[in-house]
C-alpha cells in the first residue's frame, strides 16, 4: 500500500492517463448501464430513457432469490475448491528450481489462452457417456459400463475450477515466492512436521493473499455464463445466464442491465464485508 499521497504537478500528470482510461472505459459504460437499467423497454432491443424502477421490482420473487442464492453458492464453492487445490500447489511450485518454475508458469499461462467455449465443450466430451473418461475406466476394468457425468453440478464445478485455477496460481505466486523460507524452516527446526509448519506458519502468514484470491475468484466465477449452460442443468443456470438470455435472446436491455447492476451490487457488498472482517481480524492481536 502506498501510504504517502502523491505530491506536485508531476504526480497529477502521471495519474491523468490512467484516470482518463478509467473514466472512458469503466465509468462511462457503467453510467450508461445504470441509465439503461431504469429506462423503459421498447420491443426489439430499443429503450426510451425514463425512470422506470419496474425492472428492479421483478427481483423480489422467490425465483430470483433462488437463482441469486445458487449463483453466490456456486461462485463461493468454486473459489474455495480453487484455493484448496491451488494454494498447496503454488507453495510447492515456489519451492522448485528456477527452470521448473518457468516451465510450470508457461504451462499455466497457456491454459489461460483457452476460451470458456473450448473449456466447456472439452469437459462435456470428457464427461460424456459415448466418448468420455468413463470408457477408459471400463477398459481398465474399474467400471462395468460407461456413464454420463454431464450435465450436472459436478461437471459444472469441474469446468469452473479449471477456469479459475490458473488465476489462483498466478495471483498466489508472487506473495508465496516472496515468503521468507526461514519462517517454515524455523518451525521445522523447532520440531514441527512439514504439514504442521505449512498450516501453522505458511497459511497464517499468507492469509491476506488467500482472502484476496478467494474474493477475486468469487467475482470472476460469478460472471461465468457459458459453462453453466454447457455443463449444468437448468437449475444450475446462474444469474449471469439469465442476464445473457435477456440481453442477447430476448432483447430486453433494461432488464438485463438492471440484473447486472443488482448482481454487481450484491457481490460488491459481499466483498466489502469480507475485506472489512479480514482487516479487523488482522488488526486484533
Amino acid at each position: 500500500m502506498i501510504d504517502r499521497s502523491p505530491r506536485g504537478a508531476g504526480a497529477y500528470v502521471l495519474a491523468f492517463g490512467p484516470g482518463l482510461m478509467l473514466a472512458v472505459f469503466f465509468l462511462v459504460p457503467f453510467g450508461i448501464m445504470l441509465l439503461v437499467s431504469v429506462a423503459e423497454a421498447v420491443k426489439g432491443g430499443a429503450y426510451n430513457l425514463a425512470f422506470d424502477g419496474s425492472h428492479y421490482a421483478r427481483f423480489f420473487t422467490p425465483f430470483f432469490g433462488r437463482v441469486l442464492g445458487f449463483s453466490l453458492f456456486i461462485a463461493l464453492l468454486t473459489a474455495c475448491i480453487c484455493i484448496t487445490v491451488g494454494f498447496p500447489f503454488t507453495y510447492a511450485l515456489t519451492r522448485l528450481g528456477h527452470r521448473a518454475q518457468v516451465v510450470w508458469l508457461v504451462f499455466i499461462l497457456a491454459v489461460l489462452s483457452l476460451s470458456e467455449v473450448i473449456i466447456g465443450f472439452s469437459w462435456s466430451i470428457l464427461l460424456s457417456r459415448t466418448a468420455g473418461i468413463s470408457n477408459l475406466l471400463v477398459w481398465l476394468g474399474l467400471m462395468r459400463e460407461p456413464v454420463a457425468w454431464f450435465p450436472g453440478l459436478a461437471a459444472l464445478l469441474c469446468g469452473l475450477t479449471y477456469l479459475g485455477l490458473p488465476y489462483t496460481v498466478l495471483i498466489l505466486y508472487p506473495p508465496l515466492s516472496r515468503l521468507d523460507p526461514e519462517l517454515p524452516e524455523a518451525a521445522r527446526m523447532l520440531g514441527a512436521s512439514p504439514l504442521r509448519s505449512f498450516f501453522t506458519v505458511v497459511v497464517p502468514a499468507m492469509r491476506p493473499a488467500i482472502v484476496a484470491t478467494v474474493i477475486m475468484l468469487f467475482v470472476f466465477t460469478l460472471g461465468a455464463y457459458l459453462l453453466p449452460q454447457v455443463l449444468g442443468r437448468p437449475q444450475h443456470w446462474t444469474l449471469s445466464v439469465l442476464i445473457t438470455d435477456q440481453a442477447i435472446f430476448q432483447s430486453n436491455l433494461p432488464f438485463a442491465a438492471a440484473m447486472a447492476i443488482f448482481l454487481m451490487g450484491v457481490s460488491l457488498a459481499l466483498v466489502l464485508v469480507t475485506s472489512r472482517l479480514n482487516r479487523r481480524a488482522m488488526g486484533s492481536p
Binding site: 432491443g45 476460451s115 449452460q229 430476448q250
Partner: protein, 368 residues
C-alpha cells in the same frame, strides 16, 4: 427467433468477416483492373446467420447474383436470435446500418416494427413477389410491406438411428417415460415453439394458447416432459454433436441441418411427426438506416425467383417460400425439404404481445 447461435459462431464470425472483407477488396481490385463496364451498381451488405447458412449463401447464391446484376455482396455473419436485432436497432439510432439487408426471424420482424426499424418496401419494384406464398409477404399493421420471405424451414423430431432403430412418429413420443434423460430441446420459449407443439399434440390445436390461463395449462403439460430432457440447448452445435454420437439420442432440431448430417453418413434421422413439423421462416428486411434502397429491391427480387428458391432447397435444404408449382423441384426434392402434413405454424403474435410474462413463466418452468 432463430437459429445459428453460439458464441462459437460469434467468435469466429469476426475473423471470417475480416477475411471476407479482404477477399472482397482483392476481388474488387481485380475486377476494376479488368476494365469491367460500369453498371448502376454498388455494394450491398447482406446479413445471414453465421456458419452453415452464410457459407451456403456465399457459395451457391451470391456469386451468380453479382455476375448478373453487378451488385457486389458483402456477406455479414449475423449472431443468433435477437442479438442482431438489438445491434441493428442501436446502429440505426446512430444512423448506421451494419447490414443493409438482413435475414430476420418472424418474432424479430414484429419487434423491429415497434421502433420502425424496417424500411418500407415497394412491391412494384419486386415483380417476382407474385411467386411468393401469401404468408411470406410481411407487413406493418398499416399494410406497408417490411419483409420478403427469404427461406422457410422445419423444426422436426430427430433421433439417432443407432439408439432408435424404429423412427419415432409423434411429438407425443417425447413424453414417453422410456425416454428419461434422453432428449435435447431448445432452451427458449420463443425459438423452441414447444408451446405450439404441446398444444397441437395434446390440446387439439393452438387455440388454447389464446389466453394466459390456457398457456399455463399447456405449460403444465410441458412440465411433465422435464425428467426426459437432458439438454436444453441454445446453440445448435451443442445438440448436433450429442445427437450424432448418441449421447442425447432424441429431440427437436432443424430438418435441413439434420438432413445434411444424415447425408454425411451420421446415424441421424429427421422425422416429420404426424402432428406436423413446426414451419418457421426468415424474412429479408431492409434497415431504415441503409441508403442502398435500390440495390436491396434488386436483391430481394432476385431471391424470389423460383429457380433461386429451388437452388436453396437443393443446396441448403430449406423449404421454398414461393409456390411449389413455380419451381422445378421434383417430388423427392420437395419432400426432402417440406411435407404434405399440415405444419404447426408458430404464434408469432403471442411472443410479441406477451413477451415478458411468457419469458418469465417459461424460465421458471424450465429451471424450477
Amino acid at each position: 427467433m432463430k437459429r445459428r447461435p453460439s458464441s462459437l459462431t460469434i467468435a469466429s464470425a469476426g475473423r471470417r468477416r475480416f477475411l471476407m472483407a479482404s477477399a472482397a477488396m482483392t476481388l474488387a481490385g481485380a475486377v476494376g483492373m479488368s476494365g469491367r463496364p460500369a453498371r448502376a451498381a454498388g455494394t450491398l451488405k447482406v446479413g445471414t446467420y453465421g456458419g452453415y447458412f452464410k457459407d451456403s449463401f456465399d457459395k451457391h447464391i451470391y456469386p451468380d447474383f453479382t455476375r448478373e446484376t453487378g451488385i457486389e455482396i458483402e456477406s455479414i455473419a449475423e449472431p443468433t436470435g435477437e442479438a442482431w436485432l438489438v445491434q441493428l436497432n442501436a446502429a440505426a439510432r446512430a444512423g448506421q446500418a451494419p447490414a443493409d439487408v438482413s435475414m430476420m426471424s418472424q418474432v424479430a420482424m414484429l419487434k423491429g416494427q415497434a421502433s420502425e426499424l424496417w424500411a418500407p418496401l415497394d412491391l412494384a419494384r419486386i415483380p417476382n413477389h407474385t411467386y411468393l406464398l401469401p404468408q411470406y409477404v410481411h407487413r406493418y399493421p398499416d399494410r406497408r410491406v417490411d419483409g420478403i420471405g427469404a427461406v422457410a424451414w422445419y423444426i422436426t423430431l430427430v433421433s439417432n438411428t443407432d439408439v432408435y432403430p424404429e423412427a419415432p412418429t409423434s411429438w407425443g413420443d417425447l413424453w414417453n417415460p422410456d425416454n428419461q434423460d434422453r432428449l435435447g430441446l431448445l432452451a427458449l420459449v420463443s425459438n423452441s415453439f414447444l408451446l405450439e407443439i404441446t398444444a397441437t399434440t395434446f390440446f387439439g390445436g393452438t387455440d388454447v394458447l389464446g389466453t394466459e390461463d390456457g398457456i399455463l395449462r399447456v405449460m403444465a403439460k410441458l412440465a411433465e416432459l422435464k425428467p426426459n430432457v437432458k439438454l436444453w440447448y441454445r446453440d445448435e452445435g451443442q445438440f448436433q454433436q450429442a445427437l450424432q454420437s448418441g449421447e442425447i439420442p432424441m429431440g427437436q432440431y432443424y430438418h435441413d441441418v439434420a438432413g445434411l448430417a444424415a447425408a454425411e453418413g451420421f446415424p441421424v434421422r429427421s422425422t416429420m411427426p404426424t402432428e406436423g413439423g413446426v414451419n418457421d421462416s426468415g424474412c429479408w428486411a431492409l434497415s431504415r438506416a441503409s441508403d442502398k434502397v435500390d440495390e436491396a429491391h434488386v436483391f430481394m427480387d432476385y431471391m424470389c425467383r423460383p429457380e433461386v428458391q429451388a437452388t436453396l432447397s437443393r443446396k441448403v435444404g430449406t423449404a421454398p417460400t414461393v409456390r411449389r408449382e413455380a419451381t422445378d423441384l421434383s417430388d423427392a426434392e420437395f419432400d426432402a425439404v417440406s411435407s404434405s402434413i399440415p405444419p404447426i405454424i408458430p404464434l408469432y403474435e403471442m411472443y410479441n404481445e406477451r413477451d415478458e410474462w411468457l419469458n418469465q413463466q417459461w424460465t421458471e418452468l424450465v429451471t424450477g
